[in-house]
Symmetry: C2
Subunit: 291 residues, 2 copies
C-alpha cells in the first residue's frame, strides 16, 4: 500500500499526517503554528520529512496559493503567508518526490475520491471559510487552467463598488460568501462595527430575527454565485465545505438554484471528507498522479 | 479526405455547406429562412441531406440550444426556435451519422482548430450577438457538463434586480453584454425608447460623446464578466466573436482584465474563423469525434 506524508499549510496552522492510498490517516495528526519566517517554515517541513521519509513514497503538500501545472511550485503571492513563500524550493526538502497542490483543489479532490462528490463527472467545491476557495473537477481531472491558478472565486456579483475584495478588486463573490463577509453584512445591516461572524451564528441559533435577516442576505449572495457556477459548469453537484458550510440551508439553496438555472438540475451538498480533507486530498492526488 | 454536410440552425436563418476535414468550405453556402413549423424544418433538412448524402461522410448540425453528451439530441427549450424543436429525431433524417453540437460550442471549436485560439490548452469563447453564447475548451475538449448544457453565460453581474434576462432570471451577464443589451443601455442612459444598437454604433463612429459613454458602459459590463471568467478558468485566451465583437476595444479590455485578475495574464482576441465558424466548427468536430 502506497503512503504519502501530507501537509496542509495555511496562514495560521500547519497540519501533517501519513495517509495511505485509500485515504486513511495512518499516523497521529500533527498540528503546528505556521512559522512567521521563510526559514522557519523550511526548517519545520525538513524536520518532519526527515522523521518519516523512510516510511513513505511521496511528500504531498496542500497549501494556500496557486500551484503550477507540474505540481512543483507556488505561483506568486499567497494571501496571509510570509513574504517570499513562493520562492521555497519544496523539492529540496526531501529525497522523495514532493508534490504540491492548492489547498482548495486538494479538498475538492478528497470530496471527489472519498466524500460528497464521488462518482460525478463534473463537480464544483467551495470552501467557505475566512475566504472562499474553489476546486473544480471535470472528467477525473482538476481544472487547473493555463498556469495552475484556475478555480479562483473572484467574479463580481454586484457593480456598484460596494465592497473591496482581498484581491484588490471590487465586489467579488469571495467578498460576499466568506465567513468574513457575514461579519461585514452584519456590520452594514446592524450599523455595529463590533459584531462578529460568531454573533450572527449565535443569533440565528436563538431565532433573533435581525441576525436571521443578516444570515439570509449572506446566504442569498452565496446562492447568487452558485447559480452562475451551475450555469457555467452544468455540474452534477456543488459541494460546500469549510467552517461556514454547516450553517447553510443546502435544501433551500438547491431549490432556488434549480429554479433559476437554465441547465438541468444540480445538487447542493455539504462536504463529507471532514476537517482534514486538505491533507487527504493532496495525499490521494500525489499517490495517483505524482508517482 | 473526409467531408461533412454541415448546417447552422438559428432562429431566423439556416446555413448549410459541405466542409472537409481541414475546415475548408468546398461547396456553395446555402442560406434559408428558418421554417416556422417543425415539419418545415424537418422537410428542409431532409431534402438538403438527400441531395448531398452520397458525397459526404457525416451530417453535422450546429444549433441553438444545449446538446446532450452523445451529440444526438437537443435538450429542452431553445429560445426563438419553433416549439417542440427538441423533439426532432435528427438521426432519422439521414442514413449517415447525424452529429449535433450547440452553435456557440461549434464556433468555439472552429476558433480552436483554425482560428484565434489555436494551440491553447484552455480557451473561453464568447459570441456577442442578439444574446451571448459561450464555448469553453479545456485540454482539447469542449466543456459540456453533466448533461451537455455547460457554458451558459448566465451569471449575475449585479444584485439589484435591474434587468430581466431572457432566461427568466435577473441581471445575467447575457443581459449586459449582448447586442440587445447595448440598446437597453442606450434606452436607459438617453431616456429614449426608440434608440437602436445601430444608432449607438453609428454615434461612436461619429464621435458622439453620449453614444461613446453608452458604449463604454456596455464594454465595462463585458469586461466585468470577462474578469470573472478569467479568474475561474485561467485561460490562455478569451475569444470574442459574433456581430458585436468587432466594436470591442480588445486592447483596452485586455489591459483592464489583466490588472484585475488574480491569475496570470490572459489575452483577449477577436475571433478569426469568420461568419461561418458555426458550420465549420461542427463539421470539424463531427469528423474528428463522430466517425
Amino acid at each position: 500500500m502506497k503512503k504519502a506524508l501530507a501537509f496542509d499549510i495555511g496562514g495560521t496552522k500547519i497540519y501533517s499526517a501519513i495517509i495511505d492510498e485509500t485515504g486513511n490517516i495512518i499516523s497521529e495528526i500533527e498540528k503546528f503554528s505556521t512559522p512567521k519566517t521563510l526559514e522557519g517554515i523550511k526548517e519545520l517541513l525538513k524536520n518532519e520529512i526527515a522523521k518519516h521519509e523512510n516510511a513513505i513514497d511521496i511528500v504531498a503538500i496542500a497549501t494556500a496559493g496557486a500551484i503550477d501545472n507540474d505540481n512543483k511550485k507556488v505561483l506568486g503571492s499567497t494571501g496571509n503567508l510570509v513574504e517570499g513563500y513562493y520562492t521555497i524550493d519544496f523539492q529540496s526538502l526531501s529525497t522523495k518526490r514532493v508534490f504540491l497542490e492548492n489547498d482548495a483543489n486538494s479538498a475538492a479532490w478528497a470530496e471527489y475520491k472519498i466524500g460528497a462528490s464521488q462518482n460525478t463527472s463534473v463537480s464544483v467545491m467551495l470552501t467557505l471559510g475566512t475566504g472562499v476557495g474553489g476546486g473544480i473537477i471535470i472528467n477525473n481531472k482538476l481544472l487547473k487552467g493555463k498556469s495552475g491558478a484556475a478555480g479562483e472565486m473572484h467574479f463580481k456579483i454586484r457593480n456598484d463598488r460596494h465592497r473591496k475584495c482581498t484581491c484588490g478588486s471590487w465586489d467579488c463573490f469571495e467578498a460576499y460568501a466568506s465567513g468574513t463577509a457575514l461579519k461585514w453584512d452584519a456590520e452594514e445591516m446592524l450599523n455595529n462595527p463590533n459584531v462578529t461572524t460568531y454573533d450572527v451564528i449565535e443569533g440565528v441559533n436563538c431565532n433573533d430575527p435581525e441576525m436571521i435577516s443578516v444570515f439570509n442576505r449572506w446566504q442569498d449572495d452565496l446562492t447568487t454565485g452558485i447559480i452562475g457556477l451551475a450555469n457555467i459548469f452544468d455540474p452534477d453537484c456543488i459541494v460546500l465545505s469549510g467552517s461556514m458550510a454547516q450553517f447553510v440551508d443546502t435544501k433551500k439553496v438547491e431549490e432556488i438554484v434549480n429554479q433559476e438555472i437554465v441547465t438541468t438540475p444540480t445538487s447542493i451538498r455539504l462536504g463529507t471528507a471532514g476537517n482534514y480533507s486538505g491533507i487527504i486530498g493532496v495525499a490521494l492526488l500525489a499517490i495517483e498522479r505524482g508517482l
